[in-house]
């Protein structure tokens, strides 16, 4: 992403939601991507595209490398000592791992929501305002905060107590606050790592509804253990599995990726079918 500075400036005056169709350039193009931690190869040979303004789900059994892959999409893996990404990982045609690319700039454009709600121990307002302030967004901060909270369908619940500590919210509200926090910096992509696994069913539905709204403006990649969730929210689904090689190493592999409907009803690979029909995993 050589054009960071420009984009930061551009995002200070949002409003022009460009009407991109899923058919245009993919947000991510992965060519033979592999990730290793030290000597251990965690994930190998991933080839796939992630389309803009769609929800893409990564599913698969534990240890198949889906979270690892998600974290490498915004270079959160850089924070783990020994983590290394090989292959070609393009974001809108630009190599995310080129030496000139600043991981901080990447994360401004590609936000992340984590498995466990992790609001900052500050007020609701400050939680949302932190991102825009650090990124250097100018303008009406109250407006930015309100817009983000409305975007995360949380405004009506918290508008009269913005100064309360974020930990006074329920788990589901906290997770929506984390989503509000992520969209406040107006990223292009939101990565979600099992965002509903710590939530009750009612909160889960709210977050899923929210994803359906958010994909109008953002590209979303979600890792989930819940296959029904993938079927409900995702346009496209990628199924990962673990392969054990001759030396006994467990390596994650992308088995197949495609339209969610196709993956769930007419999978081409036996392993996908077994997993989806509940025979394994």
């Amino acid at each position: 992403m050589p054009d960071n500075g420009e984009h930061v400036a551009e995002r200070t005056a949002p409003g022009g939601v460009d009407t991109a169709s899923p058919e245009e350039t993919p947000v991510f193009s992965l060519r033979d991507v592999s990730v290793s931690y030290g000597d251990h190869l965690a994930l190998a040979g991933v080839n796939m595209d992630v389309n803009a303004r769609e929800v893409t789900a990564f599913i698969g059994p534990s240890g198949c490398g889906k979270s690892t892959l998600l974290r490498s999409l915004n270079r959160m893996n850089d924070l783990i000592t020994g983590a290394r990404v090989r292959g070609e990982l393009l974001y809108k045609g630009a190599d995310l791992y080129a030496p000139s690319v600043d991981a901080v700039q990447v994360r401004k454009r590609i936000g992340m929501v984590f498995q466990k709600p992790n609001p900052f121990p500050k007020s609701i307002y400050d939680n949302v305002a932190f991102g825009p302030r650090t990124v250097g967004m100018k303008g009406d901060m109250d407006g930015i905060v309100e817009k983000a909270l409305r975007g995360a369908a949380l405004w009506d619940e918290v508008s009269d107590r913005l100064r309360d500590n974020a930990y006074s919210l329920s788990g589901g509200q906290q997770q929506r606050l984390c989503i509000a926090r992520a969209i406040a910096v107006e990223p292009d992509v939101i990565l979600m790592d099992e965002p509903c696994s710590a939530l009750d069913p009612v909160s889960t539905v709210r977050v899923e509804d929210l994803m359906a709204e958010l994909k109008e403006r953002y590209s979303i990649v979600i890792v989930t253990h819940n296959m029904h969730q993938a079927a409900r929210v995702a346009e496209r689904t990628a199924f990962f599995s673990v392969q054990v090689d001759d030396a006994g190493n467990r390596i994650g592999r992308l088995i197949e990726a495609g339209e969610t409907g196709t993956i769930f009803t007419k999978p081409t690979d036996k392993r996908t079918e077994d997993y989806i029909s509940g025979r394994v995993g």
Partner: protein
């Protein structure tokens, strides 16, 4: 059947008692030897605590009984005097202590917290030199204070810094003495900030430094403050290293930071206590009360400050 709270029918009371005794027969009943061992061990622990309490009470009671006659304003407002012990006080020693401790705080907060941030957030722990630094800081915390006094004399009073026998030299020496403790406490506090907070901040596109400044340090603040105040409390009571870097026992004029002689409370108390006249002994006891009061105030302030910031970060 409606059962009021606190009132159980006879039947269920019996059942409860039976169930309890059955459980106790499995878990509760130890052998006679076990029970005696228990009692003995508890007695031993009580004895240990008793000794600690006794020692503390002895000091407080003794100094109050002894020093009571001199607990007056002269104690604070008057300087030392060898001619009129009945009105002499600790004025110059208190000022000296304030200068020295003020300097310590100004020095150890930025340096100690900075070192802790580097070691926790930036240092690559797989490198041998970083591990060496860590081990050395832990060892330094256990070095006797007199060694730091000699270091101060050689390098701060004389040697490269050549400050002379002034309060600033005492300040620097005590800073070096308590710095390892501040670093260790601050590291512990920084480490206790949950990594999910760091990831959340970094995931929004904040830089490493922004994450540290806005999230890690505020979260670690209560722990850091506690470490600093406990270290400062230790520094107030130190006499040995200061004697080496020039704290003199008899200062007639108010000290300043960079020039002139200085004294501190513990050194002044030591001087008074060693004099033959009865009035000076009383004065020494009153000085002990003064120091205890200062320490009590500082520690209370530390606790208040910590609670204040903990509530602010409350989850």
């Amino acid at each position: 059947m409606v059962i009021q709270k606190g009132e159980q029918p006879q039947r269920s009371r019996l059942a409860v008692a039976g169930a309890r005794s059955a459980t106790e027969s499995v878990f509760g009943a130890g052998s006679r030897a076990d029970r005696i061992g228990n009692v003995l061990f508890r007695a031993l622990l009580l004895l240990g605590m008793g000794f600690a309490l006794l020692g503390m009470m002895a000091i407080i009671v003794w100094s109050f009984v002894d020093g009571m006659p001199r607990l007056d304003m002269n104690l604070i407002t008057e300087g030392p005097s060898s001619i009129t012990p009945e009105t002499a006080g600790y004025r110059t020693a208190i000022l000296g202590s304030l200068y020295v401790i003020g300097g310590v705080i100004l020095f150890i907060v930025p340096v100690g917290v900075g070192a802790a941030i580097y070691l926790e957030e930036y240092a690559d722990h797989t490198r041998w030199w970083n591990r060496l630094i860590e081990v050395n800081i832990q060892n330094l915390a256990a070095v006797p204070s007199i060694v730091f006094g000699i270091l101060g004399l050689a390098f701060i009073v004389r040697g490269p810094l050549d400050l002379g026998f002034v309060a600033a030299a005492g300040s620097l020496t005590l800073s070096l003495l308590v710095l390892p403790t501040v670093i260790l406490a601050s590291r512990e506090a920084i480490r206790a900030v949950p990594s999910s907070t760091r990831l959340g901040s970094l995931g929004l596109g904040a830089t490493h430094w922004q994450t540290i400044w806005h999230h890690v340090l505020p979260g670690a603040l209560p722990g850091i403050i506690t470490g600093v105040i406990l270290s400062v409390s230790r520094a107030i009571g130190e006499a040995a290293p200061l004697l080496l870097v020039g704290a003199v026992t008899f200062v007639m004029f108010d000290p300043s930071f960079f020039e002139g002689q200085f004294s501190v409370l513990p050194v002044q108390i030591y001087n008074y206590a060693g004099r033959p006249q009865e009035e000076f002994r009383v004065l020494a006891s009153a000085g002990v009360i003064l120091m205890l009061a200062v320490l009590l105030v500082m520690n209370s302030f530390a606790i208040w400050l910590r609670n204040h910031y903990e509530n602010k970060n409350a989850r």
